[in-house]
């Protein structure tokens, strides 16, 4: 019997095509807003988006650079019919060798890499963000290219924590406080659903890489101390009983 692969979908649910368009920044702002609103309320679509994000990340990690046929040798068509999987087998081997070397020689680098990975397993707090650029809204990722004038809105899954502060430090040592933007941090209901924070920030004209830190605490965090620690350099890794997630932004000039 022929059956749809996801028979549980209802009429209002979001298709993979729409999620692909959202990720590719191809969705008009109004449609993107409707999709994001639906995602806030539909556990099935939240789960589907997480699954697609995971699969996309896994595939992207294996994706070789695009090389047109004939580009490497100057011949017109040297690799027609050659399997892509076979053609990047050597590349994968090189990555595995490099990973092994890293494991042996640079354990600190691996630990730092793991700490910088934004999306954690179920039960850990997580940080997400969306970018509004003109009429388009799209979800950002670690290492996201952003531009002056982009608006950022952060979302968190606080899990067991009730407070969060979001700060940034640029490569030229400027610090910013993204959240809270009012006088005091607001308590959140601890849960595992993405919660948009009631603040958006517009990026200035200074082109610089920036590291964003989300500090999750069970008590109101001391913002002044966090800013001072960030200003001294070295990041925000030692925050007592708070949990820190971080990601990086790469600000480039508008084309």
């Amino acid at each position: 019997m022929l059956k749809r692969s996801r028979p549980e979908l209802s009429d209002g649910c979001i298709s993979d095509l729409m999620l692909d368009q959202l990720r590719a920044e191809e969705m008009p702002a109004r449609a993107a807003a409707a999709v994001l609103a639906h995602l806030q309320t539909c556990p099935r679509c939240q789960e589907r988006k997480l699954t697609l994000d995971r699969q996309t990340g896994e595939i992207a990690a294996q994706l070789p650079a695009f090389v047109p046929r004939g580009a490497a040798t100057g011949r017109t068509d040297p690799s027609r019919g050659r399997s892509f999987a076979r053609s990047h087998r050597g590349w994968l081997s090189a990555v595995m060798v490099a990973a092994c070397a890293l494991l042996v020689a640079w354990p600190d680098a691996l630990e730092d890499s793991a700490r910088r990975y934004v999306t954690r397993s179920k039960g850990s707090p997580s940080l997400y963000f969306y970018v509004k650029r003109g009429d388009h809204v799209f979800e950002g990722a670690d290492g996201q290219k952003v531009m002056p004038g982009d608006q950022l809105r952060f979302l968190v899954t606080p899990q067991s924590y009730t407070y969060v502060a979001i700060l940034g430090r640029t490569a030229d040592a400027r610090t910013s406080l993204y959240y809270p933007q009012r006088d005091a941090v607001q308590a959140m209901d601890p849960h595992g659903v993405r919660t948009p924070l009631d603040a958006a920030s517009e990026l200035d004209d200074v082109l610089s890489d920036e590291t964003i830190y989300a500090v999750f605490c069970s008590h109101p965090p001391a913002i002044d101390q966090l800013q001072a620690q960030l200003a001294r350099g070295g990041g925000l890794h030692d925050t007592g009983d708070c949990d820190v997630r971080q990601l990086s932004l790469h600000k480039v000039a508008q084309p």
Partner: protein, 162 residues
């Protein structure tokens, strides 16, 4: 070498092309070859995209046809048999259809003419709505409903003969 904009386009869209091709074909090797074919075609003939407003919808269409061609010419069938003999199966959680359902679907797709086969993949593998399929195929929503009725009828007749 491709310019930076094409490389960016490839980085953004290739993962979803690979994911869909794997779902339709049932194995990674064929899916990677579809990725190569789809982007090579776009690189060599960028004008084929000019009349469509969104690259995602264009790639959905091109990927679907590339996969259908592979299913019809039997390469995927051979690869699936080889994979079953020598390789670990694809993780079930990443495959929308189980291997048996996928095999039955491939048998049916080989018998269906266009646009029934395309509509079948959009509806049963991609889970797109009638409206989305209508936009991708370029027909009315009602016509999509009629096409899916014919697909269901074909499926029933095939089951009856098995």
């Amino acid at each position: 070498m491709p310019d930076a904009s094409f490389e960016t386009l490839y980085r953004v869209h290739a993962p979803s092309v690979q994911r869909r091709a794997r779902a339709m074909l049932g194995n990674d090797a064929d899916a990677w070859e579809v990725v190569q074919d789809v982007f090579m075609s776009l690189y060599e003939r960028p004008g084929q995209f000019s009349e469509l407003s969104q690259l995602s919808t264009f790639l959905y269409s091109v990927t679907t046809h590339a996969c259908l061609n592979r299913i019809r010419n039997g390469r995927t069938r051979l690869r699936l048999l080889e994979a079953r003999a020598h390789e670990a199966p694809m993780p079930a959680k990443d495959m929308p259809l189980d291997p048996e359902s996928l095999s039955l679907l491939h048998d049916m797709l080989r018998r269906l003419p266009e646009p029934l086969s395309t509509v079948t993949l959009y509806y049963y593998v991609d889970d797109l709505s009638h409206d989305e399929i209508a936009r991708l195929v370029g027909c009315s929503r009602k016509h999509v409903g009629n096409l899916l009725d014919r697909v269901a009828e074909t499926a029933r007749s095939l089951e009856a003969t098995c």
